[in-house]
């Protein structure tokens, strides 16, 4: 019994063994790369390539989440135009309550602090901008060199945007904000995109009695009959399947129900499915991206046809004469449906046809030519010869 051999012998030579060694030596590197670079967060936060502008981009913009992650990544605090603000220092280290800066106004909307609020602790001179302003405001390197402090543009959050959630129910509850605004306590920027995702928002909202099925609880212009603006993006119809897979089904299901998918997809097949050659090519497509098929189909969908419907070319001639030749040169095709034991079931006792020689007739002395010691091909790999006639297995053409 041989020992398990994950690593080929180092003495091995030849292309095959070298390849084996290369692959398995590189496996730890691959795993390291996976662990370091390919964790879900990084993959999902990557910006869509220019060639795929619509995949996830619209949703990211309009739903306040990066593609694949409902929570938008915190921007780099050194980005020109942004305002640096260490929530960590103020909230975590100095234990300031959120409401000190973000007082909840009459409309139920938390205010964004202005200079007046900051002046409570910091000296601010609006009339003579100086390098002190760079404590919060970020300018480009060129602007800093030019001391163009007057270029500082104060970015204010509009009073009325797409969101309209009434925070009054949470007023006066210390520490409750971070239940939804999970990124806020550690954020280093002053930005308005520290909102939570639906997954973290909904439980807290439901606890307070909000109707999370009603989109207008938070969104000004969104509802069952008013889809997010992303749904109007060019190419959304073509790419929404990819977005569904990227964002995760539960994200779409915030508004949609499975029935809505079916309403279209049970009536409207992808155009590729309508081509006559689809019957032949869908296996290849399935091999490439099996999960794409599984968005609509399950394993049973394949079996419904493939368990009882043979390929068109499995004719009588194929069954009796040609399948061996086809299998010999393209056995991978056979293995789609059959295991190797399928061949064995017949051919374990199979024998090649006799060639149409004049001496291949009944009563011929077979072993006169085909002795086990001869170099005749059929006997090279022949097992123990039967005691009875060769004609038990071999037949004339």
């Amino acid at each position: 019994m041989k020992a398990p051999a994950f690593v080929p012998h180092l003495r091995s030579i030849g292309a095959g063994k070298r390849a084996a060694r290369l692959v398995f030596l590189s496996m730890p590197l691959a795993l390291l790369w996976l662990a370091g670079c390919q964790l879900p967060r990084v993959v999902k936060e990557s910006a869509p390539s220019p060639s795929s502008p619509s995949v996830g981009a619209g949703l990211t913009e309009d739903w306040g989440g990066a593609a694949g992650s409902p929570v938008k990544a915190t921007p780099d605090p050194n980005t020109p135009g942004l305002q640096r603000f260490s929530h960590e220092q103020h909230v975590t280290e100095n234990e300031l309550e959120c409401a000190v800066c973000h007082e909840i106004g009459e409309s139920g909307r938390p205010k964004m602090p202005d200079h007046e609020v900051c002046s409570g602790c910091h000296d601010i001179n609006e009339t003579e901008p100086s390098a002190d302003c760079l404590t919060c405001h970020v300018l480009s390197q060129q602007q800093v060199q030019d001391e163009a402090f007057a270029d500082i543009a104060v970015r204010r959050v509009p009073e009325q945007g797409e969101f309209q959630f009434n925070h009054s129910s949470f007023a006066g509850e210390p520490g409750v904000c971070a239940n939804c605004h999970k990124q806020a306590p550690g954020s280093l920027v002053a930005t308005d995109n520290l909102r939570g995702d639906h997954g973290s928002l909904f439980p807290a909202l439901r606890e307070k009695g909000f109707d999370t099925k009603n989109c207008t609880t938070c969104h000004v212009s969104m509802g069952k009959n008013t889809p997010p603006p992303s749904h109007s993006n060019p190419g959304f119809l073509q790419h929404h399947g990819a977005e569904y897979r990227t964002m995760g089904s539960s994200y779409c299901m915030t508004c949609q129900v499975e029935k809505q998918c079916q309403t279209c997809h049970e009536q409207t097949q992808p155009t590729s499915h309508l081509r006559p050659e689809w019957t032949r090519s869908h296996g290849k497509m399935g091999q490439v991206d099996e999960e794409k098929c599984q968005m609509c189909h399950n394993e049973q969908s394949c079996k419904i046809c493939h368990s009882s419907q043979m390929p068109q070319d499995h004719t009588n001639f194929f069954r009796r004469r040609s399948h061996g030749n086809i299998a010999a040169i393209n056995r991978d095709r056979c293995l789609v449906c059959h295991k190797q034991d399928y061949c064995q079931a017949c051919h374990i006792g199979a024998a090649p046809l006799m060639t149409p020689q004049p001496f291949h007739v009944a009563g011929a002395a077979c072993l006169a030519c085909h002795s086990p010691a001869s170099a005749v091909r059929p006997l090279r790999r022949h097992g123990p010869l039967p005691q009875a006639s060769c004609l038990n297995c071999h037949r004339f053409q």
Partner: protein, 460 residues
């Protein structure tokens, strides 16, 4: 319970009862027009039963069989703890045609013109159990499960086994899998054959997936260790990349690389494939185990290259096809070790919304002097989504060469095969479907051969 052959009276009774039961179910109220059915996963019990009647004629002989395919899944066998599934085929010889051909494991088709591995004959009924298993879990199978019973281990070379398999998510992006059991060959367990293995699936996103595995197979001829590293990647929009490297014992076994890219501006999909077999697969390798014994198809190292395309053209035309080449390191012109080239092309045309036409050509050239050239045409009519009718014909010119090594004689035959066929699919409602296939075949070696298949699919 289900062996290779169950020649019992109760089974015939069960088979026919099952057919009647399925017929009765069709009488139940069907789904109203426009009503959307719940998806299979929303139903606790779902599956299908395909009942196939097949009749064949050649000269004055005929053969009539009945087959029934069952595929059933129960999502909650025990709520929160277990689910189950089974699939099987019931075989019944209707005409009681007694054939001199023995059963499976014997090569005798010349004694029975209708012989095939799956043919029911000699007035017997029997069952082939493909799968039958239960999954045990705590709360939800998404958190991991233990599968017990007959199953296909698709991750591990599609091993068919009576086994226990554990799937255990270790993180949100990694799942550990392991199995141990007895291999199944032709629906019966192989006594004294054991197989087991472990694998790790890493799936950070649907565009990025890795699979590492090791499994061992022990039988009475040889023990084999197999290992594999496989990945699926979608590096950019429309592109897919797949690669698999497998080892066998101390050797590299094979490498497979597949790529595809969809070019939106041209509505063109390109596929590129490369396969390399590094080692010989024959005696003492897994290829020659009882489970995989194919001595007649032993393989020598080879390279295979292929390119395929799928292109939409103006004027409601579509074109698809491809080329493939195999080069064997030691082309000994033996049965399974020959250089070959292959090409195929299909042109489809949709002049009207409900009609389509297609023309196909296929060509093989295997060294030396074995070839195939075929062409076919099909006309299809789809008046609505419930009816699909097709009629077509195909013509194939084969060239086979037989060689006698002792005397150097070369024998060659080139049969021409014509096939005419028609098929009708009628989706009665969301739960019932009928399919009729009629084939007529004429070749240079046999007389006219007819096949009729009536299939009734019942989905629940």
């Amino acid at each position: 319970m289900f062996g290779r052959r169950s020649e019992t009276g109760w089974f015939a009774f069960f088979l026919r009862c099952a057919a009647v039961m399925a017929m009765a179910v069709v009488g139940l109220p069907s789904v109203a027009e426009g009503q959307v059915l719940p998806s299979p996963r929303q139903k606790n019990l779902h599956g299908f039963v395909n009942t196939v009647y097949r009749s064949r004629w050649l000269d004055n002989e005929s053969d009539r069989d009945l087959y029934q395919y069952w595929d059933v899944e129960v999502e909650e066998l025990v709520p929160g703890s277990a689910r189950g599934a089974f699939s099987l085929r019931l075989n019944s010889d209707l005409d009681g045609r007694v054939s001199s051909a023995p059963g499976r494991g014997n090569y005798v088709f010349d004694r029975d013109p209708f012989y095939s591995v799956d043919d029911a004959r000699n007035d017997i009924e029997y069952a082939d159990l493909y799968t039958g298993y239960v999954d045990l879990y705590n709360g939800s199978p998404d958190g991991g499960f233990l599968r017990l019973g007959r199953q296909y281990l698709d991750e591990f070379d599609w091993i068919h086994a009576d086994a226990a398999k554990l799937e255990l998510p270790v993180t949100s992006w990694a799942t550990l899998k392991g199995f141990f059991g007895q291999a199944v060959s032709f629906y019966s367990g192989h006594t004294d054959d054991w197989t087991g293995g472990v694998g790790l699936e890493i799936k950070p996103s649907y565009k990025n997936r890795w699979w590492l595995e090791y499994h061992r197979y022990e039988d009475d001829i040889a023990d084999n260790d197999s290992y594999a590293l496989e990945t699926w990647q979608s590096p950019w929009d429309g592109a897919w990349f797949h690669a698999r490297f497998r080892g066998l014992d101390d050797d590299a076994r094979d490498l497979s690389v597949n790529m595809s890219q969809y070019f939106a501006p041209w509505d063109l999909t390109l596929f590129l494939d490369y396969n390399r077999l590094f080692t010989r697969l024959e005696d003492e390798s897994r290829q020659d185990s009882p489970f995989y014994r194919t001595a007649l198809l032993y393989q020598r190292p080879n390279d295979y290259y292929a390119i395929r395309f799928d292109k939409a053209l103006p004027y409601n035309l579509g074109l698809s096809g491809g080329l493939g080449v195999q080069r064997v390191s030691e082309n000994d012109q033996d049965y399974g070790n020959r250089d070959y080239e292959h090409g195929d092309v299909t042109l489809s045309f949709y002049p009207f919304p409900n009609w389509y036409y297609s023309l196909s050509g296929e060509w093989w050239n295997a060294d030396p002097d074995n070839s195939f050239f075929g062409y076919s045409g099909e006309i299809g009519y789809r008046p609505n989504k419930c009816i699909d009718w097709a009629i077509g014909s195909s013509y194939g010119q084969y060239v086979f060469r037989y060689e006698d090594e002792t005397y150097g004689g070369l024998f060659r035959e080139s049969p021409f095969v014509k096939t005419y066929y028609t098929s009708l699919r009628w989706k009665i409602d969301e739960q019932n479907q009928l399919r009729v296939n009629l084939d007529f075949e004429d070749d240079d070696l046999d007389n006219d051969y007819y096949t009729l298949r009536l299939t009734w699919g019942k989905y629940f």
